[in-house]
Symmetry: C2
Subunit: 348 residues, 2 copies
Amino acid sequence: MRKPKINTMEELSSAISVSRPTLSRYFQDPESVRSSTRTKIETALQRVDYVPNFFATRMNRKATGLIGVIIPYLNDLFYTSLLEAIERAAIAADYTVITQSSHGDAALEARAVEKLLSMNADGAIVAPLGASSDPAAIERLSANLPLVFVDSRPISMPDNADFVGTDNRQSIRLIVEYLCRTGPAPVFLRMPRLNSNSQEREAAYLREMERLGHEPAFVEAGGQQDSWDFEGFAYELLDRHFSHGTYTKATILCANDRLAIGAIRAANRHRLFRPDAREAPALRIAGHDDHPLSRYMTPPLTTVSQDAPAIANAAMRMLMQRVRADAPRDASAMEQTFEAALRLRDSA
Amino acid sequence: MRKPKINTMEELSSAISVSRPTLSRYFQDPESVRSSTRTKIETALQRVDYVPNFFATRMNRKATGLIGVIIPYLNDLFYTSLLEAIERAAIAADYTVITQSSHGDAALEARAVEKLLSMNADGAIVAPLGASSDPAAIERLSANLPLVFVDSRPISMPDNADFVGTDNRQSIRLIVEYLCRTGPAPVFLRMPRLNSNSQEREAAYLREMERLGHEPAFVEAGGQQDSWDFEGFAYELLDRHFSHGTYTKATILCANDRLAIGAIRAANRHRLFRPDAREAPALRIAGHDDHPLSRYMTPPLTTVSQDAPAIANAAMRMLMQRVRADAPRDASAMEQTFEAALRLRDSA
DNA sequence: CTCCCATTTTTACGCGAGTAAAGTTTTGCG
DNA sequence: CGCAAAACTTTACTCGCGTAAAAATGGGAG
């Protein structure tokens, strides 16, 4: 039942007696050949096993039709949501996406950059590691192809680099305002990893607290942490605090939902949430991002939503502009940030 | 500060006066050239911007050094864990992995297959969609390159297809046995999507219940569901049930942890878990997989662990055997399943 | 049945590098 | 210092297909 395997267009050509150039045109655009020969080719194609060689086809075109995507870490539903949306958009635009994960490692991120360069990608969408990124690698990528950053900015943002992300100032203002209005002012639980988001959110927190006349405060964390196990980090940190009786009646604003998930677990372990109590709970926990599982926590997490699909789509549109219309690379940088929306649930 | 861009080896060759064939050898294995010329090349390389064209390099080699990976869905931490481990192993083995997500759609899965074929990948690791997969596409891939399935088997498993996964019979036996020993026998909550795992787990459940002399039962679900939103599916189903007072004192064994996460939320919404009660809780919920966030649920989810990294590594080893030693493709199929371990936490 | 335009076929070259063969230079050793 | 082996340079062909130009073919309008 296996169809005879044909490896090259040349073979196909002689096998079905259609010239190779015509086949070439057919595979680039079936509409570009007369309908009679088209059906001739297509019926033949059903009887044999052939796919044009991807590498050979791309080598001679001006554009490769490839878009590189680099994300810092795979096991994070926020990044996979981004990826998912980017891939869908790319498929719609008839581009092939080459996904590379940095696995939280700057060396691998640099390696991913090299790979994209060697593949002559038409453009790239990068969610950088952040502080640990290799600036030279980023710069190199940016110098050689249109590049838009998503989620966070690299430490040393190349000139004229495009960016799409969330408006951290707005999102933090929203949640801080809400928390202050409905209870004690929040203490802030930082992200262990430093990237522009962590900095921006901290800054926004400070600014907003000041504006509202509250004393800002950060959850005490010993030593520099450098792990992508956000839930574990927050859980252990707060478990320790709660054991010592600290923060047990606080309002904790977590820099992202994954931290909040760990925090909620610690709180529940210490029975700090009282579902049956009439009065407002003593402890409140809020997050940031609206992680897909946040609504399934107990209590469901109050947070602000970061719209991953919107960010992904905007990034693709922006990249397409640079790639296609060839918005001059030296033109001014584009930037687009999305506002977040409050997701009021029960945790705060 | 930008280095002069060099596009081809030819240019590089004349620019640094080292012949092209020598450069070719250098890029394939720096050790294969005399150390003096190596340093000559390397110092030159620091002054200019050049990467060998990926496509051109692969075109003439017998092996492309590519490994294709197809996973059904990106927003699922189990699959991303698999991917993560596969990529790490591939990097170690000096292979480039091309990741393709089916996005839960058979047409996209087939498209991914075409892409891998067109790229002449040396091998592929595929976590199939399952029942909705296009058998022809799978067959086509299997016919053209070494292929090992992970996680679940395709409906129509090609002959001599390799497989790596979890021993569902063993894992289900483990959890059913435990549940029966410590309380009421479990009812089973099926996966909405049909793949070999769902079938095997159901069958294992039936078998084990029978062996232990209990009456098997399934959580009633109206109509065929076909969504990847497992948590939402389980949440809404059980929320409805709990509202009607059904299953409120049952022991529910979920076909996977994502379902369990939704189930736990529904249970908590109805105050079905009583953290303060002395006696054993009336409602018990157990899962399967040991999803990264299971331990952070409230109550923490009792489940059986599926070792994604182990599965991924085994799959890579198996594939490497086929690819490298060229374990004859027509030889007997290899199969490896991993045993699961009980993760006793508080939900059951 | 013409004539013309649209398609297709022929022919030939190019992309960027792998690779083989022959000739030349360098290196290591005695 | 002489020599063989190792490494390099030259030359030329290959991979699978894009693409351009010229010649040949086909189909439809008149």
